[in-house]
Amino acid sequence: MKHELARYRWIVIVAAAAAVLPRLLPDRYAIHLAVMIGINTIVALGLNLLMGYAGQVSLGQAAFVGVGAYASAILSANMGISPWFAMAAGVALSALIGAAVGVPLLKLRGHYLAMGTLGFGMIVHIVLVQWESLTGGTIGIMSVPPLKIGGISFDSELKMYYLVAASVIVAMALAANIINSRVGRAMRAVHGSEIAAEMSGVDTARYKLQVFVLSAAMAGYAGSLYAHHTTYVHPDSFGFHYSIYLVVMVVIGGMASIGGAIFGAGAVTLIAEHLRSFEEFSTVAFGFILVAIMVFLPAGLWRGTAEALRRLRRTAPTPGEEA
C-alpha cells in the first residue's frame, strides 16, 4: 500500500506548491507565465509518455496543440459555440488526426519517424497559414471567449491558473497510473525491446498508436486551454520552433520521468520568455547549453543529476522513481 501511494508523492508536492505559488508571484504577468508553464507541462507529459516511455519520437507535436487551439478558437469565436464544447471538439479532433497519421507514420523508426512527424507538423502549420477562410491566415483569430462554469468566467490569469494547475495535477495522476499498469508496461516494453515485447504477446503496433493518440489528445487539450487563455491564436505559435521547444522540454527534463516533464517545461518556458526580450546572445546560450546537456547528461537534467548524485553516494540505483 505504501509502495502504491509513493508514486503520487510528487503529485502531492506539486499540488501543494501550486496552491501556494500565486501568493509568491509579483504580478499578473508572472501568473500568466505560470499558466503557460502549466499548459506546456500538459503537452510535455503526453510527449514524455510517447518519447520517454514508449521510445518513439515526435518532432511535430506543436501541430496537435495547434489543432486543439484552432478548433477551440474557430468554434467558439467564429461560430459562437460554447467554449467547453469547442474544447471537447478540439481534443477529439487532435486525437482523430493523431490516429490517422499515426497508423502510417508509426511503421517508421528512428530518424525516419522523426522526419515523418516533422513533415506532418510543417504541413499542418502551412495549412494554418494558407487556409485563410477558416483560420484567418497570418492574422489569426482574436477574441476567443473564455471558458465558463455556471456563473464563473475563467477570464483572468489567476482563474486560468487554477484551472490549468488542476489540469496538470490530473494529467500527472493519469500518467502515473498509466505508467504503472499493464498498458504502461506494454508501452515501455516496446521501448525496451520490441521483439521481446511482441513475443510476450504485446501488440506493439497497437500500443504505439495508443500512446501516440493519447499524447495528441493531451496536446489538443493544452492547445484549447491556450486559446481560451490568451484569447488569440496565430499560426506561428504552433510551428517548427514550438515543436522543437517541446522536445527539448522532455529531453532536458529527463525522459521517462513525470517530475522531469514539469521541470523541463518550466525551464524551457522561462528561457524562451527570456529569449524574447534578449534575442541575440540568449539563443546562442540556449543552443550551447542544449548541446552540453545532451552530450554530458543525456538522461536529462532531472534524471541525469539524480543518477550522478546516486553514483557519487554509491548506492544501488533504484528505479520506479517517476512521480
Binding site: A114, L118, I123, F240, G287, V291, M294, A299
Partner: protein
C-alpha cells in the same frame, strides 16, 4: 491554367537551379548519414554561414568575389569539423533522440551566433557577373543561375573524382559501406567521421555562397533550406549520393512547377510540396527512388 511553353520552360529552368541547391544540401546530409547514421539538423546552417561569410568578405571588406567564396567555403568546412569535434565526438550514450537533439542544439547555437554577428536583417550579396537576364528561347534566366548550375556540376565532378581517384575519398566510401571492415583494414573511422562533417560543411558553404546573391543572406535562411534539402535526400534515397542530387533536382523542379502552375491563392502551399513528397516517400518506399537498404 495551362501554361505556355515559355512559362513551362521558365519554371523548369528556375526549378533546376533551385534543385541544384537542394541537391548540394541533400548531398551534405547523405555524406554524414553514410558515415555516422546521424541526420545533421545543422546542415542548413552551413548554407547560411556560406552566404553570410561571403557577404562580409565581399560586401563589407570589399574582397574580390572568388576570394570571398574561398574564405567562406574554407570557413564553413572548419565549422563542420568543429561541430563534429565539439558536439558529436564527446557524446556518451548517443541514442537516436540524443543525436537529433544535439544537432538541433547545434543548429540553434549556430543560428543564434549568426544573428549575433550579422543581425536579423536580410543582407544583399553582389551577383557574380551582373544581373543582365539571358534569354533562352522566350524564357530568361540570370547569369547567377548559370553560375549555380555550373558550380554545382563542377562540385559533383570533383566529389566523384575524390571518391574514385583519391585515397581519402576511397577510404570514406569504404567507411560508409562497412565501418567495421574499414577499420579492420586500418582506416581510422573517427577521422572519417570528422572528414564527412567537414566535407558536408564544404558542400553547404558552396551552396550558400552561390545561392546568396539570389536568396540574400539571413541568419535564419538555413531552416527551410535544410529541411527541404533533407526532403530531397529522402526522395532520392537516403544514403545514395546520386540519389541526393537527383532528389534535389526533382524536388526543385516539382516545387517550381507546383508554385508556378497552381491556381491563384494556392501558391503559398508550395512549401508543403516538399514535405508532402517526403511523407509520401517515407510511407510508400522509405528507401527513396535510388536508395539502398540504408542504416
Amino acid at each position: 491554367m495551362i501554361p505556355s511553353g515559355d512559362q513551362f520552360l521558365q519554371y523548369l529552368l528556375s526549378g533546376v537551379t533551385l534543385g541544384s541547391i537542394y541537391g548540394m544540401i541533400a548531398l551534405g546530409f547523405t555524406l554524414i548519414h553514410n558515415a555516422t547514421g546521424i541526420v545533421n539538423f545543422a546542415q542548413g546552417e552551413f548554407v547560411a554561414y556560406g552566404a553570410l561569410i561571403v557577404f562580409t568578405c565581399s560586401g563589407v571588406l570589399g574582397l574580390p568575389m572568388p576570394l570571398a567564396i574561398l574564405i567562406a567555403v574554407v570557413g564553413v568546412t572548419l565549422v563542420g569539423a568543429a561541430l563534429e569535434r565539439a558536439a558529436i565526438r564527446p557524446s556518451r550514450r548517443p541514442s537516436v533522440i540524443t543525436l537529433i537533439i544535439i544537432t538541433i542544439g547545434a543548429s540553434i547555437f549556430l543560428r543564434g551566433t549568426a544573428m549575433w554577428i550579422w543581425g536579423p536583417d536580410a543582407l544583399p550579396i553582389r551577383h557574380f557577373s551582373g544581373e543582365e537576364p539571358i534569354a533562352i528561347g522566350r524564357a530568361s534566366i540570370l547569369p547567377q543561375h548559370l553560375w549555380i548550375m555550373g558550380i554545382v556540376l563542377g562540385t559533383m565532378v570533383a566529389l566523384w573524382l575524390l571518391g574514385e581517384k583519391t585515397q581519402v575519398g576511397k577510404a570514406m566510401r569504404a567507411c560508409a559501406m562497412d565501418r567495421e571492415a574499414a577499420q579492420l583494414v586500418g582506416i581510422p573511422a573517427s577521422r572519417m567521421v570528422m572528414l564527412s562533417f567537414a566535407l558536408s560543411g564544404t558542400l553547404g558553404g558552396i551552396a550558400g555562397a552561390i545561392v546568396a546573391p539570389i536568396a540574400m543572406g539571413q541568419y535564419n535562411m538555413g531552416i527551410m533550406l535544410g529541411l527541404k534539402g533533407f526532403c530531397a535526400a529522402i526522395l532520392g534515397g537516403m544514403g545514395n549520393p546520386l540519389g541526393a542530387v537527383l532528389g534535389g533536382l526533382l524536388l526543385g523542379t516539382l516545387e517550381s512547377l507546383g508554385a508556378g502552375l497552381s491556381p491563384i491563392g494556392w501558391s503559398g502551399f508550395k512549401d508543403a510540396i516538399a514535405f508532402g513528397i517526403m511523407l509520401i516517400v517515407l510511407l510508400a518506399k522509405p528507401t527513396g527512388l535510388l536508395g539502398r537498404g540504408g542504416r
